[in-house]
């Protein structure tokens, strides 16, 4: 086929059908937490003493960390989804939640005696943490991949991985309300491992599904 006849066909196609539309980011941002909540509430739900624990600093910091991760990953996604959008400084924002987490870990190590570090890091919820975050994040990841599929990410694998990161942030935000291990040592040990599962899944799926 000559390029000229291809152009004829494309023009005819444009006339016949309107261009594809992508679901707006605000809508995805609205549905994503609802999906995570839909898994969270009927299964594990918030811990019983949540009203009291909300007044403690380590408990609240879990939400700050997870929230920052979700926001920065989401911000990076909006850039990754468009050809030629500058992404480097958007990706740099991902360092923010990591830095906040490291600061809280340092603060914890400063006040807690060394003999308790291992106990706090291992905690008592590691297994449920490793299961709950990926399961709550899975539908969110699917939603984000669907939204990205209808855009034009030129780095499918990286985009999928960052989608996994965003899903993990949203999922961890709700999981934090369930988990009774508030020590930053626990958070810094197990949350990233659970996150890694979603990142790996996102990278794999992105590599397959986000090509165009």
């Amino acid at each position: 086929m000559t390029t000229e006849s291809l152009i004829d066909r494309l023009v005819a196609d444009a006339e016949a059908r309107p261009p594809e539309t992508a679901p707006p980011w605000w809508l995805l941002g609205l549905i994503a937490p609802i999906l995570a909540l839909a898994v969270f509430l009927p299964t594990i739900g918030p811990r019983p003493d949540i009203a009291h624990s909300m007044t403690t600093m380590p408990f609240d910091m879990k939400f700050v960390d997870a929230g920052l991760l979700a926001l920065s990953a989401f911000l990076a996604l909006t850039a990754l989804a468009r050809p030629a959008a500058p992404i480097r400084h958007r990706l740099a924002w991902l360092a923010l939640p990591a830095c906040v987490l490291l600061v809280t870990v340092a603060a914890e190590m400063a006040v807690v005696p060394q003999s308790l570090w291992m106990t706090r890091a291992i905690g008592s919820n590691s297994q449920i943490c490793m299961t709950a975050i990926p399961s709550m994040g899975a539908p969110v990841l699917i939603l984000l991949l669907w939204g990205l599929k209808r855009r034009a990410p030129t780095r499918p694998t990286l985009t999928g991985a960052v989608a996994g990161l965003a899903a993990a942030g949203i999922s961890a935000f709700f999981y934090a309300a369930h988990c009774t291990d508030d020590s930053p040592l626990f958070v810094a040990t197990w949350y990233p491992m659970a996150t890694l599962i979603l990142v790996a899944a996102g990278a794999l799926l992105g590599n397959r599904l986000l090509r165009w």
Binding site: I7, V11, P19, R151, A152, W212
Partner: protein
């Protein structure tokens, strides 16, 4: 990177903007201008001696991607970086596929591929049917010279005839065939 403004009167931004608003002529103009830019873009990136790498194929791939993803262009951004980002993506994609393309010997697949000679075709059947109407020597001679493609001397030797007799049998055979089938055509 070259400026992405079209060589014509209107910049690509205005054309694509009008096109997204439903202006068919603007869209055609936009695609034509984009094709020119892409041809130059691809031409400089394709390896010179890549026999299987077709510039125009890749240009068309990119145009199709641009068409499918035209909704991802924002009206407030320049077309150039957006267009070239898509071009780069599709070029890398093509390299990847190109690199993966391997040549294999067709002989390795001989048991999977049909032997074209064994597939009955309308022509082949007609020829067999036509030859079937001839008798003995004539059939052997016509078959040998036309279907099997042997020479007159080979045929004469094989059938134990003189070359003259082969010629006579051949002409009589053809005449008989013409008599049987020629009137129908």
């Amino acid at each position: 990177m070259e400026p992405a403004s079209g060589s014509g009167s209107q910049p690509l931004e205005a054309l694509l903007n009008a096109a997204l608003g439903g202006d068919e002529r603007a869209y055609r103009h936009f695609l034509q201008e984009a094709a020119k830019l892409l041809r130059r873009f691809v031409g400089r990136r394709v390896p010179q001696n890549a026999a299987a790498f077709d510039v125009e194929d890749l240009v068309q791939d990119i145009l199709m991607a641009v068409h499918a993803k035209r909704h991802t262009w924002r009206r407030d951004e320049p077309v150039g970086p957006w267009l070239y980002a898509i071009a780069r993506y599709k070029t890398i994609d093509a390299y990847r596929r190109h690199g993966r393309r391997q040549t294999v010997d067709i002989a390795d697949f001989s048991d999977l591929l049909d032997d074209p000679a064994a597939i009955p075709t309308a022509v082949g059947q007609d020829v067999q049917r036509a030859l079937g109407t001839l008798a003995g020597r004539q059939r052997a001679v016509v078959s040998s010279l036309t279907v099997e493609g042997q020479s007159i001397s080979e045929t004469a030797e094989r059938l134990g005839m003189t070359q003259g007799a082969v010629r006579v049998a051949f002409h009589r055979g053809l005449a008989a065939l013409a008599k049987t089938f020629g009137s129908r055509s």
